[in-house]
């Protein structure tokens, strides 16, 4: 009750220097814990630092990272998170497989899937902008997508067949495609959020929707753009995964929703919005992939791995909360 008081104690007209530093503290904490983890991983895990293993980690982090980065604007704008991540990315994956299977050229299929996903995302964005609870809206959209794909495929695995794109699971200049897309996409979305008018407005709406409204910033426009960016990320993730595996089904990408939210939280993006940067979500995804990889190499059971992943999220959220409280207290 006393923490966020307007006339906080002890601050003279000169104010306190601590606040801004605390705001920048979290990324440092996150990077430091990543460094500690990597060192620990090297100590206890044979082969951890091999090129193959590191590349595997990044490749595994890439899909989660792309979607987490894409969801960052939604979260930053104060619309919390989507609970339909798995189903949406799966729909994109199945859609791409089917289009390639029909013999569509790669570029057309890529374009169609992105356009389709953006359309689906915009519908959700419109509903959220109209005041529907974003968590429930995305959950419902996910259920509809899953049900529809499930009915249309009859539970069957859909395949690309011989038309499978050669670039699927491939490399560009020695860099695996997923990692390249992750890096470029993260850069683009991070710049969008930090250097564009709509990005700034997204963060301000998340920081305080009422103040944003008084300042003439449109919540609807911000929400629509956030959902559009999110949809592009979902489409990219689905397409990359589809191209790499050449097949998909309604049950594909199980657990992606949790991993993406975990990456976002571990990356230190405020769940209530208004603070954080998309690159942090990518960092969170890598951090989780490192932990997950260490556990696989050290023979943790799947249940154990999930439990530890959950524990990491809880630890991160508690830590972030502490940092924020300290900042509020000055």
């Amino acid at each position: 009750m006393t923490a966020p008081r307007a006339d906080a104690p002890a601050a003279g007209q000169a104010g306190r220097p601590g606040g801004a530093e605390a705001a920048r503290l979290w990324p440092i904490v996150a990077l430091a814990s990543l460094a500690v983890l990597v060192i620990a991983a090297m100590a206890v895990t044979p082969n951890f630092l091999s090129v193959e293993n590191l590349r595997g980690i990044l490749r595994n982090a890439a899909i989660v990272g792309i979607v987490a980065v894409a969801m960052a604007p939604v979260t930053l704008s104060g619309s919390f998170v989507s609970l339909g991540v798995t189903q949406s990315a799966m729909a994109a994956m199945v859609g791409f497989v089917v289009l390639i299977g029909w013999g569509w050229p790669d570029w057309l299929a890529v374009g169609a899937v992105i356009a389709g996903m953006v359309a689906i995302g915009m519908v959700q964005g419109v509903l959220v902008a109209a005041g529907l609870n974003p968590v429930i809206t995305t959950l419902a959209a996910g259920a509809i997508l899953f049900g529809t794909v499930s009915e249309l495929t009859g539970g069957r695995i859909v395949r690309m067949g011989p038309a499978r794109p050669a670039w699927g699971g491939g490399e560009v200049l020695g860099i695996p495609l997923e990692i390249l897309v992750l890096v470029l996409f993260t850069g683009a979305v991070t710049l969008l959020m930090s250097r564009s008018v709509i990005g700034r407005q997204t963060i301000l709406v998340g920081a305080n929707r009422a103040t944003a409204a008084v300042s003439g910033i449109s919540h609807a426009r911000v929400t629509l753009v956030a959902f559009a960016v999110f949809s592009v990320g979902l489409a990219l993730a689905g397409i990359l995964n589809a191209a790499a595996f050449g097949e998909a089904m309604a049950n594909s990408l199980t657990g992606l929703t949790f991993s993406v939210i975990a990456a976002l939280l571990v990356g230190g993006i405020a769940i209530q919005g208004g603070a954080g940067s998309p690159w942090q979500a990518a960092a969170g995804a890598v951090l989780i992939a490192v932990i997950s990889n260490m556990m696989v190499l050290n023979d943790f059971s799947p249940g154990g791995r999930l439990a530890v992943q959950g524990a990491v999220v809880v630890a991160a959220v508690v830590l972030i909360d502490q940092v924020r409280r300290r900042r509020a207290r000055g």
């Binding site: 306190r16 220097p17 920081a207 000055g330």
Partner: protein
């Protein structure tokens, strides 16, 4: 249970003080919030605690409430040394704090709220006992007419404040601390609260009263302790002081006058309001503002003054009437529309919709007009800094701290940001609702001066405020509201401050 508490001392009586603080120090990082503070409170007196924001009074309150542990110093209650940290000890020692924010549960009844958080209430699960106890406490705060079963959400703000006080009385508090209890109240309700506080002190409790409103100090307090830069000045009886003297003590220098001079508004009206009907108004309102003019609208809380401003800001679309800006009719059906017409608006509650608390000052300042800084939708950080700097400088915000979250600043500086951010949008009319609520004296004068400067440059300003002194001091033209109606509107020359107060009370003279 004795609500009367121990002690029979009255103001000015010799003997053991109710509360005595000696050499209290507290440091936050590099800032010495309290520097060897001495403070004394006698039983039966109301001690006003004054000082600019950051002077140390809030920290003293926190130490007394047991929310922070002091670095050095001693506190004694009724002559016995006590340790007040953590807050459970402070409560056990008989200290109770009434905050600006209410901690009542709106959906619960008064009676239930009165026992919230009190573990030692063995028989209170019996409804009639609960009601009986509630009645006793309500009587003590002048709310005997209320049914204890009434849900708190149906009470007025002042009644909630009184229930909050009653709740603390239930804890048998010997020392009551009020932290700006009237910040959200209109004059008549303030009167009610002040009467209750006086009575509580007369019953033998020691009362510490923290406020920014000097009028209340002279109306209520027996003595005054002024804080400045973490140090306390010796307490002085109110009777020996006047307003100018208190301000000089607080600032450590002469303030000059609180209000700047008045303008010479001339020419055609910039803003014309014709027979406006809007939510909160019971009769059509017509008024005009010229360039270089400050129009002050005042009334009690809920009188309609603030509603006119909200309507003009596009936050509550008008039901009827015309609004002309530079002789051209404007649409006010959304905030964005009003903003596009050049109507800046600053609300009464800056934390709710005036600032982005956790975001840097720079982003706060440029938020409404960032599009003007951008090229092709992109923001160049250097360009933004260049654009934000003069705006900050204009409202005396430290330009070296543009990267600091605005929430880390004092209330006065936050308010300067909340008002100043509009300069970049080059508005034609500035609408302000309670522009200096929760702002210390120094920052308040600063804000008045800056508003007058803007006016002199040709802006038209409309201020809604329940602080009649503010409206009288600042405005060129004054309009008074009563129950949703504009009752009087004339140039300042046609008013006296007393007349404004009387008009706001509207014949219902205060008891």
């Amino acid at each position: 249970m004795t609500t009367g508490a121990a002690g029979t001392g009255t103001a000015g009586a010799a003997g053991v003080p109710r509360l005595s603080v000696r050499g209290l120090s507290k440091r936050y990082g590099s800032i010495q919030a309290l520097d060897a503070v001495d403070f004394e409170l006698r039983a039966g007196e109301v001690m006003a605690l004054l000082g600019e924001n950051g002077a140390g009074k809030s920290t003293l309150v926190k130490v007394l409430a047991g929310l922070v542990a002091p670095d050095a110093g001693a506190v004694a209650i009724d002559g016995r040394d006590v340790d007040l940290f953590p807050s459970a000890r402070s409560q056990a020692a008989g200290v109770a704090v009434v905050h600006q924010e209410y901690s009542l549960v709106p959906a619960m009844s008064i009676a239930e709220n009165l026992v919230l958080g009190q573990g030692d209430a063995p028989d209170l699960w019996l409804p009639w006992r609960l009601a009986a106890r509630a009645r006793r406490l309500l009587e003590a705060v002048g709310l005997a007419h209320l049914d204890p079963r009434t849900r708190v959400e149906r009470l007025s703000v002042a009644e909630m404040q009184l229930v909050e006080i009653a709740r603390l009385l239930g804890r048998d508090a010997r020392i009551l601390i009020f932290d700006e209890p009237t910040a959200a109240l209109a004059d008549r309700e303030i009167e009610r609260i002040l009467r209750v506080i006086r009575r509580l002190a007369d019953e033998g409790r020691g009362v510490i009263y923290v406020t920014h409103r000097l009028a209340e100090v002279f109306r209520l307090a027996d003595r005054v302790t002024v804080f400045r830069n973490g140090r306390s000045l010796p307490a002085l009886p109110t009777a020996e002081l006047d307003v100018a003297g208190v301000i000089t003590m607080m600032l450590g220098r002469e303030l000059g006058t609180m209000f700047p001079g008045h303008g010479q508004p001339a020419g055609a009206p910039v803003l014309e309001v014709e027979a406006l009907e809007a939510p909160g108004l019971t009769a059509p309102v017509s008024l005009q503002v010229r360039a270089g003019e400050i129009l002050g609208l005042t009334g009690q809380l809920g009188s309609g003054a603030a509603d006119v401003v909200r309507c003009l800001a596009g936050l509550a679309p008008p039901a009827a009437g015309r609004v002309l800006l530079a002789r051209r009719p404007v649409r006010l059906d959304s905030r964005a529309a009003a903003l596009a017409e050049g109507l800046a608006y600053c609300s009464a509650d800056r934390k709710r919709d005036g600032i982005f608390f956790g975001r840097p000052i720079r982003e706060n300042l440029t938020a409404p007009w960032i599009g003007r800084v951008a090229r092709a939708g992109l923001i160049a950080p250097a360009a933004e800094r260049v654009a934000a700097t003069p705006v900050a400088a204009r409202f005396a915000v430290d330009v070296r701290r543009l990267g600091t979250p605005v929430g880390a600043m004092s209330g006065g500086n936050q308010q300067k940001v909340a008002v100043g951010k509009w300069l970049g949008a080059a508005p034609r009319v500035m609408l302000l609702d309670e522009p200096t609520r929760g702002v210390d004296v120094g920052a308040r004068a600063e804000i008045y001066r800056r508003l007058r400067e803007l006016c002199d440059e040709g802006m038209a300003i409309v201020v809604a405020s329940s602080d009649t002194a503010e409206v009288f001091g600042l405005s060129d033209t004054i309009g008074t509201f009563y129950r949703g109606r504009l009752t009087e509107l004339r140039p300042r020359a046609g008013w006296t401050e007393d007349a404004v107060v009387r008009e706001v009370m509207h014949e219902e003279a205060p008891a």
